[in-house]
Symmetry: C2
Subunit: 349 residues, 2 copies
């Protein structure tokens, strides 16, 4: 860690003093960047994920182009279910689709446990290659979907409005749901440990669909498995970030999950959440991603609001409350990064 | 009010003593009922809305078939923008679509102010007809979308994942957004007043998309307009319900909005919310709609959880946290109503 030229992100994760607030952006290696689209024109999405040279190239792009304080390895949360044996199609416009969703014991029995060093070695190769390309400029983040979020995709087969199929599963066959979540938790822990071994400096668990559950169901079907993963990840000092979109009611539990950082969506009040759990964890977030559709003046004023809501002192990693949208002007992303770097200094004096 | 054979719903809205907890279900007049589908087979959705005999028939169905304690007039929140001059298509599978979304001053200038007695008289006729058909068995609820929720549809033109277009509008042309919200608020207040005059016993404002806004944006672009509507509605004693999905952070403000009842989605803890605002308003909700995919045993246990979370005393109207889903077995909806009627008695002794 000490070799890094810019370790602001890692220090903020540990709530250690920083000279300014670090920033990275969820989905920063993505379609809003023309340089990304140039790579994407040569290879489809899954090929990019599976070709370490390409994954590494787009991972480094935002560091060079927009100047964020951390890189996040380009990949997709659905590579785990694919490695378990599910056929995954990335459909232009419709998003990812599993051709045979898991809705029965028989289908579940066909899934195989993964060995990340064999089944997902392309991700680990991309990590090694990216570390070399970054050359200690900024830290590299690895990530995974949470067991619940992966299960939701595996059962629905695609994005969903009401998540009817996965809800049917947990209410009508909770035993099967738990056995799948068990298997996913173990696979994810192995996967994130392997990424750390390959060189990532931090990991983030995305519980994108935690917020569609009632509070009790969240505890039973999502939280406990994330806690188990956090316990199982083999790490030295690498921070763990948990991002649970919409889980406004679970902040105390997320703060007690063993994670170092809790990521917040834009409906949370950063200052209130800091009062509630800021003594236990760092906070990441939480500007509304659509603010990047606004003028530079609007973006600057929203940056100020987020920074002043958190207030003085370390323990804040600036980010959006969800991934950057594909039709955002990259100049606006650059302006965001610049404003955070400039405006945050006064909160660390 | 006193003429009603069953006024449990109205008493609970006013936090007056009741013998048991009343229940109605959002979207109870809907596709899950075979009797509804029989009517729907004869007429498309908008024709049903605009034919008082048909609207009235499906409004009364759930009272007869599943036994809820209130009826809600069958209609759609988008009839207001349609009456303002927007072409609305109900697309099977894709949902409602406005063929020319409002994204410019010019487009906005073409919208006309509505006179509900002229432009939406079919809804008022349906109310009168339904009151007659209900024959004082249960109260009848009227409803509208909130200004923000209607604006979101009018600008997006259809359902949306990120609501990019309406966010662009509020960030880049807030003046236009506010002038549209102004106009919508006035129209909605007139519309709900006309419904009350026609005979509805209560009204509900649906802020389905309030929860996609940051806290500050919610105050600016949604809440203040709902407050204005509530001030403007001409009513005697008719309760007003505000349902703002995902607005976990705005409960105190909703409780101070002038509404009598705050509707909650299933991610809220009913007991905690009662502690927070139960002294000011009644609460409506909030079982996860997907629980109706479960067994009767599961449904009963979830009913018990919701009832015991609220606890003893009046001020609770049982409902789902969102509309009933179209593929729910009507037997499960019947079981839900029966369980609430049976199990809630002990909370009112």
């Amino acid at each position: 860690m000490s070799k890094l030229q810019n370790d602001l992100f890692l220090r903020a994760c540990k709530r250690q003093p920083v000279e300014r607030t670090p920033i990275w952006i969820m989905r920063q290696a993505g379609r809003y960047l023309p340089e990304y689209r140039d790579v994407r024109a040569k290879a489809d999405f899954l090929t990019m994920c599976k070709t370490p040279e390409l994954a590494s190239e787009v991972t480094v792009q935002p560091i060079d182009i927009i100047g964020t304080d951390a890189a996040i390895i380009f990949s997709d949360i659905l590579v785990i279910p694919e490695a378990m044996g599910m056929e995954l199609i990335m459909h232009e416009g419709k998003g990812p689709i599993f051709t045979s969703p898991i809705r029965s014991e028989q289908a579940a029995n066909l899934l195989k446990e993964i060995d990340p060093f064999l089944d997902l070695s392309y991700v680990l190769d991309a990590v090694v290659m990216t570390k070399r390309a970054l050359n200690n400029r900024v830290p590299l983040i690895g990530f995974s979907g949470s067991p619940w979020t992966l299960l939701a995709y595996m059962v629905e087969g695609k994005g969903s409005k009401n998540f009817s199929e996965v809800k049917k599963l947990i209410y009508n066959n909770p035993r099967l749901a738990h056995s799948l979540l068990d298997m996913l938790a173990d696979s994810i822990a192995l996967y994130l440990s392997a990424k750390i071994e390959a060189g990532v400096n931090a990991v983030q668990i995305f519980d994108t669909w935690g917020g569609i559950l009632s509070q009790e169901d969240f505890n039973e079907f999502s939280l406990q498995y994330m806690v188990r993963i956090i316990e199982q990840i083999k790490r030295k000092d690498e921070p763990i970030i948990v991002y649970a979109k919409g889980v406004h009611y679970g902040l105390d539990k997320l703060a007690a999950s063993g994670a170092d950082v809790v990521g917040l969506d834009w409906t949370m009040n950063l200052g209130s959440v800091r009062n509630q759990i800021g003594g236990k964890v760092a906070l990441q977030g939480n500007m509304d991603p659509t603010v990047l559709y606004g003028t530079h003046e609007k973006i600057k004023s929203e940056v100020e609001k987020v920074l002043s809501s958190y207030g003085k002192g370390s323990g804040h990693i600036f980010n959006l409350g969800h991934g950057i949208l594909p039709d955002v002007d990259p100049e606006n992303a650059k302006a965001l990064v610049r404003f955070v770097k400039e405006e945050s200094v006064k909160y660390h004096i």
